[in-house]
């Protein structure tokens, strides 16, 4: 384009060409001038372009190029030297700037290129982040679904609701075509289709539990994709042309209460249910990872909810059982209480009912004895008396025993002559022994105190029973009784292992050994001897013929006296030794020389002061009432008087120990006795009822005995007589004066 400046005139045919060149140059210049302008304009606009310096350079380059082309316009015609110089300067400048620019561009263009790369990179990143955001949002959705599902599942403790809700919610969340739950059957060998989403009443399909696909699912706690053609997934007939959707199965551990272990569960759960989920057929959906995770989480939650439901069922059942048992126990307790009440009532009634007629029989038989009788009749009457006495003893025994068992029996404690107790026992038994030609020996140790404090009556009863047994079961030989004070060392007897002797200074242990040469006892039978009513099997047994109570009562008396009783025998035919130890008190030194008072006779002996003894006196005659009251007051009693049966019943209380009833003054006292007996059913509480009569005929006495009075005395009653009467009554609780 730079023409040779020799100004050689172009050939004339080239004028058109020159014209075109001229125009082109002009436009080029124009373009060259406008480009930097544009650049400047846009650079000014943008704030971030870092290469202003380059732009300036570039601008300069372009401007100079433009200038060159412009100046070129003048070189088409003859031009002066100035133009040539300007042209040359312009060209030189342009050359310099272009080279500089070219050099600079070498640095700049890679930078520019890298900007581009960065931009691409960022765009990629943004796309990736977008994708991830999408994923997170989906997961959050899923999480929400799971929470809602869990909430639904856990909001009920009913098994069916739990499972149904699970299937429904899963189906909704994951847009499933079908969702099914297979539960193990009772035998554990098959899985039964229990719940489905779409089908209303699942028919009882079963599949055997040991299919490989099922084993595969059960062996892991992840959701496993299974083939849509396997038996568990083929729930509905093929829809036809569509491809069945993908199927996933997951195990649901079931709680087995019998081997539930908190820390290992559900790892070692012994049974699983199978949950099968099917995507809609025909859609190209695939199971995404997050969907599988959702399914696994749900399966776990379902397992937990089911276990809760199972535990709840179990505890409800246990509670019902407990309630039932409580009810049964309550009933049993009430029955027992009723039985005890009934027994107590029975005993107290029998007590009274049995004793009253017995009183009558004994009293009247003894009366009969005193009349004129033929020898046969006398024999009969004696037999009647003996039998009735036996019966009374039995009744007393039974009642004593029941009181002993209740713990309501209390021993008396009074000073008595110990030696004479033994002597009396010997005297009582001697006749029987001599009839059987048995020898009876008594040996009292020299250091045995003469007087002791204790319950004389019951001690005698015990000794009598033991000695009586010894005599009863010996056919020949003899019975020996030895009594001595037991030394503490002798307690280390092997037979009384739990016995810990506790003594203080005024007590001692009495030890009595009764040895007989009788039929002996089989050592195996010894433990049952003291059991009431127990009869041993062997024909020579000790208790045959007895009422079975004697030894039992003895044992209880001995226990009450803080002692011990036992029987030794070396065997059948070798006799036996009965031994007992009881604790007795020692009377004070000062009392030993005094003879204990004997108050068995009606007389001036005996306590003269019945201080505070509450007595009720019934008489409708004012004068006699005053007189007798005076007598009783003189003796120190606390007397209440009554003038009629009604008044008597009104004022009588269990504090009154004796009621004196005047029966010849016309009061129907006999009826009153009955009513008093009804009012006080317990024998201990009942006051003694004694009739006062001036009638000396026996009919009165008989009537009194018959209606159950405890005594009868004849009027007139002097102070001395009353004194004797009271002491006799208080001791023996009965007193029938002979008429």
């Amino acid at each position: 384009m730079i023409m040779d400046c020799n100004c050689i005139e172009p050939p004339p045919g080239d004028e058109l060409l020159t014209k075109y060149q001229y125009i082109s140059d002009f436009f080029i210049a124009l373009a060259y001038f406008s480009i930097p302008l544009e650049l400047i304009y846009f650079v000014k606009k943008s704030a971030v372009f870092p290469y202003r310096w380059v732009l300036v350079q570039f601008g300069a380059f372009i401007v100079l190029c433009g200038a060159t082309h412009l100046i070129n316009l003048w070189t088409f015609t003859v031009h002066s030297k100035t133009v040539a110089v300007v042209m040359t300067t312009a060209k030189v400048l342009t050359a310099v700037v272009s080279c500089a620019t070219a050099l600079l561009l070498v640095h700049i263009i890679p930078d520019l290129l890298s900007v581009k790369t960065r931009e691409l990179f960022l765009k990629n990143k943004a796309a990736e982040l977008d994708r991830e955001m999408g994923l997170i949002r989906t997961q959050e959705e899923t999480g929400r679904h799971v929470r809602m599902l869990t909430h639904e599942i856990r909001s009920t403790l009913d098994r069916h609701t739990i499972l149904k809700t699970t299937l429904v919610e899963l189906g909704r969340t994951l847009a499933l075509e079908e969702c099914a739950l297979w539960m193990p059957t009772r035998t554990g060998l098959e899985l039964q289709l229990s719940y489905t989403l779409r089908q209303q009443n699942p028919v009882g399909y079963t599949v055997p539990i040991h299919l490989p696909v099922i084993n595969q699912v059960f062996s892991t706690n992840r959701a496993v994709k299974i083939s849509p053609n396997c038996p568990v997934a083929r729930l509905r007939p093929q829809a036809g042309k569509y491809m069945p959707g993908e199927v996933v199965a997951v195990r649901v551990p079931l709680l087995n209460l019998s081997n539930f272990q908190i820390y290992d569960w559900p790892g070692v759960s012994s049974s699983y249910a199978l949950m099968v989920l099917m995507l809609p057929s025909g859609s190209a959906r695939q199971w995404h990872l997050y969907e599988l995770e959702l399914v696994e989480v749900v399966a776990d939650q379902v397992a937990v909810a089911l276990s809760h439901a199972a535990i709840l069922e179990e505890s409800m059942r246990a509670r019902d059982q407990l309630l039932e048992q409580n009810g049964a126990l309550d009933r049993a307790r009430r029955e027992a209480e009723t039985a005890i009440h009934a027994r107590n009532d029975f005993l107290s009634v029998m007590n009274h009912e049995m004793r009253t007629p017995m009183h009558a029989v004994i009293a009247l038989s003894s009366l009969l004895q005193e009349t004129e009788l033929t020898p046969e009749q006398r024999l009969m009457v004696e037999t009647i008396l003996k039998s009735s006495n036996l019966l009374v003893t039995l009744i007393n025994d039974v009642l004593d025993l029941s009181r002993l068992e209740d713990g309501s029996l209390q021993l008396d404690a009074a000073t008595f002559n110990l030696h004479s107790v033994f002597k009396e026992v010997v005297n009582l038994i001697k006749p029987v022994a001599s009839v059987k030609k048995l020898s009876l020996t008594l040996h009292l140790a020299p250091d045995l105190p003469v007087y002791a404090i204790g319950d004389e009556k019951r001690l005698m009863q015990t000794i009598l029973n033991v000695v009586g047994n010894a005599v009863k079961f010996s056919k020949e030989g003899g019975v020996s009784i030895i009594a001595f004070v037991a030394k503490v060392e002798s307690f280390r007897d092997a037979r009384i292992p739990d016995f810990i002797p506790v003594l203080n200074d005024n007590q001692f242990y009495l030890r009595v050994q009764v040895k007989d040469s009788g039929s002996g006892i089989n050592p195996q039978d010894i433990p049952t001897l003291f059991t009431k009513f127990a009869q041993t099997q062997s024909p020579t047994a000790r208790n045959s013929g007895g009422n079975g109570l004697g030894l039992a009562i003895c044992k209880r008396f001995v226990n009450l006296m803080e002692g011990h009783i036992w029987i030794d025998s070396e065997g059948i035919g070798k006799g036996c030794t009965a031994t007992f130890i009881v604790k007795l008190g020692l009377p004070d030194r000062s009392n030993e020389s005094k003879a204990p008072f004997v108050h068995k006779i009606l007389g001036n002996h005996g306590p003269t002061n019945f201080a505070g003894l509450k007595v009720l006196f019934l008489d409708d005659n004012g004068v006699s009432r005053t007189v007798t009251k005076g007598v009783l007051v003189h003796l120190g009693c606390d007397v209440t008087t009554a003038s009629s049966s009604e008044e008597c019943l009104r004022v009588v209380s269990h504090e009154h120990k004796v009621i004196f009833m005047d029966v010849c003054s016309g009061i129907e006292g006999y009826d009153l006795v009955e009513r008093i007996h009804q009012k006080f059913t317990k024998r201990q509480d009942r006051p003694l009822i004694v009739a006062l009569t001036g009638n000396t005929n026996k009919v009165t006495k008989e009537t009194c005995v018959r209606v159950g009075m405890d005594g009868l005395i004849l009027k007139p009653v002097s102070v001395d007589k009353m004194r004797g009467v009271l002491s006799e009554l208080l001791e023996h609780r009965v007193l029938f004066e002979t008429i």
């Binding site: 409708d620 005659n621 004068v623 006699s624 005076g630 007051v633 003189h634 003054s665 002097s718 102070v719």
Partner: protein, 147 residues
């Protein structure tokens, strides 16, 4: 001092005579035994009670026997009461007559009853007098003893 001794002797003699004549028996002695410091007027109280009771009963008996149709059971009941009272204080003779009275009542012998009622009354007044005299003598003795 002399007077006291004399009074006492008088009392004892009089007392003894009452017993001997059968007006009083051992029961009365018993009553006397019951009298002590805690009960100083026991005998007087009881005897006064007896007087009241007896008079009431005698009136009742008289009334009952004066009826047109006599209720012997009632009469017998009253007599029985009187017998009881008199025996309580030891008025022996009264008691004996009462016993006889009762048999008349059993027989339903009106005349016998009326007659014996008179006897009872007599005996009653006798014993009442005697007892009142006895009490007066006792009081005199007490008064003399105090002075």
């Amino acid at each position: 001092m002399d007077g006291v001794v004399h009074l006492r002797k008088q009392l004892v003699d009089y007392s003894a005579s009452l017993f001997q004549e059968g007006f009083l028996d051992d029961q009365f002695t018993q009553l006397q035994q019951l009298q002590d410091e805690s009960n100083p007027d026991f005998v007087v109280e009881v005897v006064t009670l007896f007087f009241e009771d007896a008079e009431r009963l005698l009136n009742e008996i008289a009334k009952a026997l004066g009826q047109g149709s006599i209720d012997f059971k009632r009469v017998d009941a009253h007599v029985h009461q009187l017998k009881g009272s008199s025996s309580s204080i030891g008025a022996q003779r009264v008691q004996k007559v009462c016993i006889a009275f009762r048999s008349y009542c059993e027989e339903q012998n009106v005349e016998g009853c009326l007659k014996i009622l008179q006897q009872v009354k007599e005996e009653y007044w006798l014993v009442k007098n005697k007892l009142e005299t006895l009490f007066k003598m006792e009081q005199q003795l007490l008064a003399a003893g105090d002075s």
